[in-house]
Subunit: 150 residues, 2 copies
Amino acid sequence: MNDTKQSVEKMGVLLERMNHKSPLECRVFAFLLISEPPYKSFDEIREFLGASKSAVSNAINYYLRDGSIIYKTFNGDRKRYFMVNTEEWENKIIEKAQSLTEMNQLLNEVLKNRENSEHVEFYEKIKKLNDFQTFLSQKMNQAIEEWVNK
Amino acid sequence: MNDTKQSVEKMGVLLERMNHKSPLECRVFAFLLISEPPYKSFDEIREFLGASKSAVSNAINYYLRDGSIIYKTFNGDRKRYFMVNTEEWENKIIEKAQSLTEMNQLLNEVLKNRENSEHVEFYEKIKKLNDFQTFLSQKMNQAIEEWVNK
DNA sequence: TTTTTGGTTCTGCAAATTAAGAACTAAAAA
DNA sequence: TTTTTAGTTCTTAATTTGCAGAACCAAAAA
């Protein structure tokens, strides 16, 4: 149990770095990832994390809207039980892999601005980076497709 | 010129999202990416951005330490001229690409915690995600290697 | 009908971030 | 030697973020 708390903190920190969300949001997600059972009620989450209702409510609703978590209910129990939506997570992985293309946008903007630049060698270096970047994006898309149709 | 200001803002925003640095830091970098010539003095940067010396000083020193920018000097001119370090940028692209492996760390932590879980189907789904994730990381590393040794 | 449950929304505070401004400094120029 | 240049560092102010606490609300239970 205390073990679980430590794991939640550890994974929480990882999530903060990866997903760029607030500490509490990350801990909510981390908890749902390793809690047994993998679905937990509002109040169980709140109590485990020792956080306020408002903070938990906002975190949960953020994830619900975003599709990262879903909830199930049980007969004769008014509570909602929240759990990680693994289907959506696959999409998130794909998105992340494709986020390399943001870099492409940037590099293209640079190239556009430098079309008529006197400083050709700088232009060429940026172009090279763009080629590398494009190459990686392409390989990633191939890899994703390969996995999905299999 | 005003065009340049707009481009700097646009790229600045992109950089904020991608690199998670402060607005001014992002604008300094954006400016160096498209300024003509591609090297600019402290004061030229400060003036173009309409920012304070302290803010510009801190931004520049951040990037210098981090390797993202370098400077050159000219005979008979005491000023340093700062420019984007394209070599380092390639490394940054690689780092970013490899950050997919952070996800692996997380998924492994989840699996470790769930080894003895009753909820096998959830475990299996996470395992599947981990396999996907591992597959992508591997393909990414292959792609990087392929590009670098070529 | 009143009370309880399962939350949601509003208000406000504390901490962190961001950047301005002014005082400062080391090296070069005059 | 004094002054100027090219920044750096320190202090402070303004936002922004993250969250607690309390008031609130609709549906279900009593």
